[in-house]
Point group: C2
Chain length 334, copies 2
């Protein structure tokens, strides 16, 4: 394992300790085991809370999006393992100001079970919750089974839009509707070039022969839709765009937000080369790019590869994307 | 090569095109070949210009630090190759508002030759220039030959402090003094776990056996000071700290800024594990941590490894570090 770690079983607690030490005053632990963390000022009076979480190994997802104009609290699991029910419940309780809590996370079975459990327990104490699970990975199931799709980097758009809606004071059902609308208008697809190694097992998340790539691969190594020889960046960008764009019914004059996300080991230079092609293709279609993010927004530790996420915008979502936000990992606007 | 690229010879021009496309209104090309770029609003009236540059393959270094409160323009070379004299000259001319230009870059022979040439040519047209070369890599030469040391991630502190000084209106000699003082108070050291592959040659920058690490390795694969079996993260952090701290004469009550920088393929989780140990050690020494940055601030494409940079602070440098700054790659404060 080419990893800078201590005992593999300490990986999660040690990186969490590092985050708390590096950013004092930004976050605080809200459970005894330290696996639920919230904005230092949570709950925010009069504001809907947004709770997220899931397995570790994806920074800045999930904890990196806990901040102003983003999520309120996060529950953190072991590497690629769901957060515990206890952590999920602690996060929900910490986020609730009385205005209710939206649970916003990727569509994975374990995450769902434990967040649902947490919501049931919170309801017993009068905390109102809603849930939106991101299902943006267009390659993870066909359109007729879109509800089964996994959530990947497009969740970034969910944090940004729902977080801005909560920050401006929207009530729970409105924040929920914004999150659901963002998910419905987001599609993602990834390409994998090399796996990551899971610290506790020393095993790779998938195997590829040297010189191969896999289109549609999941961020935990879930099988994709096409495996073959590595192609030039423009051809890869085309395949990602042709996976995500058709379902968005993009027409001349439409506007999108673009996220070209690095999965860990792929350089920022390469991500910009991919974006260059995506921008040219969107230009040919007459589709405007409202905003672009290029970098590591949802990773799989040292996995090599990238993903493309598009969010088809209306005026309200565009405004929410542009709203200020800040966490130790992400800052937008003033 | 596990890279998402097109023709290797197009790598630089294509990633630059991607950056310009992704961030319209932030940057503009100021040379015919597109290898010199400046803040869109350069030159900034009444303000000292700051020019940087060097070889490609280190994003966000160098171009990512062109922005408000940072550098004014950058000259971009091929991968791991110095910027041309022409690009350096174009960057200097674009940055000059009449208040003079500070050339601020890492201490590498080719970069130096071409920036010096550019300064000579600019002087013929009455542009006043100064130069500060960062020499923060404590592992690259012994203390008695500190002027020969290479510049690495600590250059980030240089951009931040000198950029803030220029933004507040300091004259050229004062901005230069700030940059020189920042360099004098900064020490860095890196650890390499796996090399990057140079696109144009397909060759790795260095070779390590599986399970080996090299302390003090340069960001282009320059030899370090110690090679051996990969050790636990805490032991690696200790070796990095013990390389950089002694020359800073840290005493109880001193304050530092800390940068734990990922070289490309090393996960953010691992960087925080390193920081956790660094913070504990500094705490034991009674040294306060004023600010911390953990992430990819100076990379070597997909190289695996990390570096630690410490800046010993005085009140003025601390204030300059805290000043607002923004580029497409870096944002600090309002």
């Amino acid at each position: 394992m080419r990893k800078l770690i201590n005992a593999p079983d300490d990986f999660v607690d040690e990186y969490l300790a590092g985050i708390l030490a590096a950013h004092p005053g930004a976050l605080r632990a809200v459970s005894g085991d330290g696996r639920a963390l919230a904005r230092a000022d949570a709950p925010v009076p009069g504001r809907v809370g947004i709770v997220t979480g899931g397995g570790s190994g994806h920074l800045p997802v999930f904890l990196g999006y806990v901040g102003r104009g983003l999520a309120t609290a996060a529950a953190v699991g072991n590497v690629f393992s769901a957060q515990s029910g206890d952590a999920a419940e602690a996060a929900v309780r910490a986020a609730d100001s009385g205005a209710g809590v939206l649970c916003l996370y990727g569509n994975y079975t374990g995450d769902r079970l434990n967040f649902d459990l947490a919501c049931d327990l919170a309801a017993d104490d009068g905390i109102t919750t809603r849930t939106v699970r991101f299902t943006d990975d267009a390659a993870s199931a066909p359109p007729e089974r879109a509800a089964e799709r996994r959530g990947v980097a497009g969740l970034f758009f969910g944090y940004k839009c729902a977080g801005a809606a909560a920050e401006r004071g929207d009530p729970l059902d409105a924040v929920t509707a914004i999150a659901a609308r963002t998910n419905a208008a987001t599609r993602s697809a990834g390409v994998g070039l090399a796996p990551t190694i899971i610290p506790a097992t020393g095993r790779p998340t998938f195997t590829l022969e040297p010189g191969e790539m896999e289109i549609g691969i999941g961020i935990h190594g879930e099988p994709g839709i096409r495996r073959g020889p590595l192609q030039p960046a423009d051809a890869v960008a085309d395949q990602l765009l042709d996976t995500v764009a058709p379902e968005l019914d993009l027409a001349r004059g439409d506007r999108v937000a673009v996220l070209v996300n690095g999965l860990g080991a792929t350089s920022r230079e390469e991500l910009y080369i991919l974006f260059r092609r995506v921008a040219a293709r969107l230009g040919d279609l007459g589709v405007g790019v409202h905003r672009t993010w290029v970098g590591e927004y949802a990773t799989s530790m040292e996995m090599a590869g990238a993903s493309l996420s598009l969010l088809k915008l209306d005026d309200e979502l565009a405004g929410l994307l542009d709203a200020p936000a800040s966490s130790p990992f992400f800052r937008e606007g003033p």
